[in-house]
Symmetry: C2
Subunit: 321 residues, 2 copies
């Protein structure tokens, strides 16, 4: 089958088709989501977890083409999307059955490729780990990223107030359209000051890491939770423990990709169960929408990565097979 | 009445007796616990929260001597102990009724003065915030401190494995007697290495802060929770966000004293309710015991502080009225 293996050049090559092991499903891929982790993995900065495919790609949509022993929840022909440990930039991918999600009713099968990572990331980190509650103030950085566009919508649908940062008025207007209420141009304003003027953030979803650590702690409300899921701004930074104690605050670092498939309260299967139960109805009702920036054929994966790296995308960048 | 007001010299002086405001109870004090926060407040390092008494003392035992309007849960003559925002080094103290606890059956009224801070601190931070579960590994630093002696016993009673650090074999033997299973002399061994050899700590209760931040994060297990409640080792330190993310770990800073009396999930009243429901039965059954190092008359408060500062105490230092 055609696939893009880990390589500098993102060239389509021919590789053997996967067979479903026991408990696995093989998906005929319709589209694959492009994630920053793919860009980092390509640059050698984010090696795949042990045992994961060397082929890039953390999420796909498509139809079930084969099922392994012991799989009863899914049948050949089912329209699905899936959260992967890797292997999505390919015509077919094998994945543990627990990592599949149905395509929400009314959603285009291509667009569905952009849902698993953002929906599961936001559910696990903002809701399950961050425990965002109705009436609380939620701050997401990069409100026009794939995760940001979903986080804004889900937090609003949950009854939270939503603040977001972005780097210009165009991006902030897009975030406002999605429901963000407190719009912060981080090139002009101190986001911690702006958020504190609103009472402080109860939950912050952060992809920057070190560079924002001090300001994120400063932006927290009493009992606030800072959930760090990315380190685009560096790995190590000074933590003011006194400031954190005064806020009775939490700093939580986490990743979705490194979690086990099942068997723990934070496993991918547990996150998927929660996402399908809580987010899918909101998507099917039209309250939360997939936000797709652009779609590229697999052979143009390099252009898709450039689009993501440009920082100009609003929502998800997808590859079609 | 006699009391020790905030001063360098800890001299007993005569001050007006407190009257109970609406919702408050006045306690005839039998004994008061001595806490590190008292020593820091005396040194000007830990100012009392706004509105709190300038008299030292965060916990007492005694009997109810008066009740204010609207207090129905307590009556004059009830034997009680209490968590205070201040004012305990005195013959009488006024306190919101929600901050009272009954003296556990079978416990000496003087010894009961050593229970509120340790029991509420451990319940709120290890159980409610840290979510310690049966079978998990719990690390407490300073296993012979008041908090340490209680934390070891409660964690064991909950079915956790318990590791502790201390600075010599005598202290470690005392911690072992209380139930600690993994005994680490921090002057000889790297505690992070020792704890990782046991699978890593699911919950760490830390009073050191900056100096231990890196090693505490290194000591965490997957999904581990580091709860920092003191900064004896400094306020600011470098946090390795990458290490925290790899562990999917949490760093939580908190204090009991700064919390509101009631009305929030982490209020003193909420913590007290949980403590009386979960810890008091274990104390009444003899499973968890008050550990009292020494008792001094109020006039010898200076000697009591010196005893606490010596680092030689095992368990609580108390003042009797």
């Amino acid at each position: 089958m055609r696939a893009i293996d880990t390589s500098d050049s993102l060239v389509v090559t021919d590789v053997p088709e996967p067979e479903p092991a026991a408990g696995e499903v093989v998906i005929d891929v319709v589209a694959a989501g492009v994630n920053r982790a793919d860009v980092m993995q390509r640059a050698g900065l984010y090696p795949p977890p042990p045992g994961a495919s060397s082929i890039l790609g953390l999420e796909v949509s498509g139809t079930v083409s084969a099922t392994g022993d012991g799989v009863s929840a899914w049948s050949v022909g089912d329209p699905v999307c899936a959260l992967l440990a890797g292997g999505g930039y390919a015509e077919k991918v094998a994945v543990p059955a627990e990592q599949l999600l149905p395509i929400p009713r009314g959603i285009d099968p291509v667009d569905a490729a952009g849902l698993p990572e953002v929906a599961c990331t936001v559910m696990s980190n903002v809701v399950m780990t961050g425990r965002l509650s109705p009436g609380e103030l939620f701050l997401t950085h990069g409100g026009t990223s794939g995760i940001g566009t979903h986080a804004i919508q889900l937090a609003r649908a949950m009854g939270a107030r939503v603040a977001t940062t972005a780097r210009n008025a165009t991006k902030l207007a897009a975030a406002e359209e999605l429901g963000a209420q407190i719009l912060i141009d981080y090139t002009a304003d101190d986001f911690a000051d702006r958020v504190q003027a609103e009472g402080g953030a109860d939950v912050i979803l952060d992809i920057i890491g070190a560079k924002y650590l001090e300001k994120n702690v400063a932006a927290l409300a009493l009992n606030g939770r800072l959930v760090i899921i990315g380190m685009q701004g560096g790995v190590k930074a000074e933590l003011n423990i006194g400031a954190l104690m005064a806020k009775r605050g939490s700093v939580i670092g986490t990743t979705l990709r490194s979690r086990p498939t099942s068997g723990t309260a934070d496993s991918k299967a547990a996150v998927i169960t929660e996402t399908v139960a809580r987010t899918w109805p909101l998507i099917e009702a039209g309250t939360v929408k997939p936000v797709i920036d652009s779609t590229f054929p697999l052979a143009d994966a390099d252009a898709a990565h450039r689009r993501l790296n440009s920082g100009d995308a609003v929502g998800k960048v997808l590859l079609t097979l």
